[in-house]
Amino acid sequence: MTPVNTGSILLTGATGVVGCEIVREFFRRDATRSMVVLLRGTAREVEKKRSWLLEWGEVPAGERHRLEAIGGDMTTAGLGIPPGAPLLRSVTDIIHAGAVTRFDQTREVAIRNNVTSTSNVFALARSCHRLERIAVISTAHVAGRRCGTILEDELDCDTQFNNEYERSKAFAEDEARKAMSDLPIAILRLALVVGRRTDGRVAHFSGLYPVLRLFYRGLLAMFPGDAGQLLDVIPSDFASRAVWHLLDRNFTAGKTYHVCAGRDRSLAVGELFPKIAACIAAVDSSWERLGRPLPLAVSSAVFQNFIEIVEMTGNTRLRDVVRQMQTVTRPMESPKIFDTTQLDLDLANDGPSLTNAREWLQPIITHAVETSWQHGLRPTHG
């Protein structure tokens, strides 16, 4: 049962790359409160996912009672939580990290998965009378195809987007902004997230990983963009610590943050693949001796021609490669820098620090290579 007096935190999206790190970090920094995670599936599946989260978070046996899992569905009203449930009397904080990140969702499905669900979380929040804070986890890519420096308080839902996921997250942010009139909401936009800096572990090899895996397997010929443009990537431990710091230590309702590497801590695209190659070679010297070339940075027009020829030849493997690449490369066609002025200010006192990606990529790549880019430990999907 959820202890009412000490308060609890409701987390959606707990099995995601960031969500499971938020759980892990919670047990490292909080010795009293409880966390309730909303999970989809049958009772058995929910319990299986909870067990996985406890294992992932390396939660000591004596602390495990502080993680409660409830079955629910964010796309349904009330999230599937019965009205008057004890949970609603204990919740002081909500971290809404749940989203469907697939890039191939239709608009209708993406809206249901990411906008309706966000509205449902807010509706539920209004019935949580002890509620103090809501952190809405968003993506820096709500900027869509805008170029240049993107400020933290900017949101343009009418811009062009690379996919319906981006659009739906922008609309979800818009919902959050409207709800700020009566709810204590802060929006945290994350960059591309990879594994932990300590051991490189990651719950899902998603996001940037498929592209790096293609590179490792020698299937990456080129990518669109200027070699000098920046690729904003953050490690999951930084993401989770930043979320907790901004929620717990330095919460200001109404703010939006770019939890991103920003201008000074991002790697230039032209530097990325030589760095990744060096990291792979440090783990697997035989890979380096294959002499596979680095992919070329090319213009969007050249990349489109390459896609065209791959599609024309009907080579199914290469077609899959190109389609996989596009999930990461399409945003690169509109170069931008995520401004982190507000984030840097609010993390300055005791917040987590982040250095340039070139300084912490090695364990990320080591883990990926050593596990053959396969998930070693993951919950059943959902």
Binding site: M222, G291, R292
Partner: protein, 317 residues
């Protein structure tokens, strides 16, 4: 290079005929979209006979006296081009008499040309890069041996009659080419050469997709390196002479090099397809005949071959 020549067998097949004969993996429509129109097929003409005809063409074009040849370098791109095997050749696994394995086309050529004073070397395992490797080897011999003044380089390849004619979305012709690399010659002067090999792709059937992915980055590297070694930049290259891979791939490579496609000699891609090791020279000769190359022009010849190899030679015409 003091003299150049080539031979293409007169028998032709259209894309549709190749597809109908079951010698392509792609549809005719797709191959036409990729820029192919027809290919040349040797039928009953042997590879060594095509080599001989290429030398005859060289003589006709230049009047070069082959008696001046000190060394013959015979470069066969296909494994079958290193021995004089015909379509009825006994399978190697069932072979009882191994002497056919010693029937070498370079020596046949020496005999047919009557060059008892010329040494003969055969180059193999270089696929479509064989001819550029022959030129490079010829240069090295000339530099190393003061008695060698003229080297006859020859490449000739003929696909087995039943073999597919499409390889990695490219249509292949049979054919041959020849060149005289001379110590003292002011035309077609070799300014630089680069050659990169990648054994990681030795089994093309397995590493097919990786090979395609590696193609553009390594193509760019060898071309840029060769141009740089020649003390030039890409802007000063008057014409890029390709191997006749599909036109779409050349459009992409030209864009990657920031070179207008008009400065790539693509006229022969649709007409003859990819002539294994010979199309660099075939295209170079035709570009001269077309007026696309004039004396003094800087020309880059690029080729990539299975195995895999990437080569570029920069010439001053």
């Amino acid at each position: 290079m003091a003299a150049l020549g080539y031979y293409l067998p007169p028998s032709r097949r259209t894309v549709e005929q190749v597809v109908t004969a079951g010698q392509a993996n792609s549809s005719a429509e797709k191959l036409i979209q990729l820029g192919f129109g027809s290919i040349c097929v040797a039928d009953d003409v042997s590879a060594e006979e095509m080599a001989l005809q290429a030398v005859r063409d060289l003589q006709t074009r230049s009047g070069f006296d082959v008696d001046k040849v000190d060394l013959v370098i015979y470069a066969g791109a296909l494994a079958t081009s290193s021995v004089m095997a015909d379509d009825e050749q006994e399978r190697w696994g069932a072979m009882t008499d191994p002497t056919p394995l010693f029937r070498f086309p370079g020596l046949y050529l020496q005999a047919k040309l009557g060059l008892p004073n010329a040494a003969v070397i055969g180059l193999a395992q270089l696929a479509c890069n064989s001819f550029q490797a022959a030129i490079r080897t010829a240069r090295a011999y000339i530099v190393a041996d003061p008695d060698i003044h003229n080297v006859l380089c020859v490449a000739a390849d003929r696909f087995p009659r039943s073999a597919k004619r499409e390889i990695v979305y490219n249509l292949m012709s049979d054919g041959a080419c020849a060149a005289i690399v001379s110590r003292s010659c002011n035309t077609n002067r070799v300014l630089s050469m680069t050659h990169v090999s990648r054994g990681a792709y030795w089994d093309a059937a397995v590493s097919h997709d990786q090979l395609i992915a590696a193609y553009f980055p390594l193509a760019r590297r060898v071309i840029v390196d060769a141009v740089d070694r020649a003390g030039l930049n890409l802007e000063s290259i008057d014409l890029l002479v390709p191997h006749n891979l599909n036109l779409k791939s050349w459009t992409i490579l030209a864009q990657i090099l920031d070179l207008p496609i008009e400065r790539v000699y693509t006229a022969n891609i649709g007409r003859i397809g990819h002539v294994v090791a010979s199309d660099n020279i075939i295209n170079y000769v035709d570009a001269i005949d077309d007026g696309r190359i004039r004396v003094g022009d800087k020309v880059a010849l690029f080729v990539m071959g299975f195995g895999a190899h990437w080569s570029c030679t920069v010439l001053e015409a």
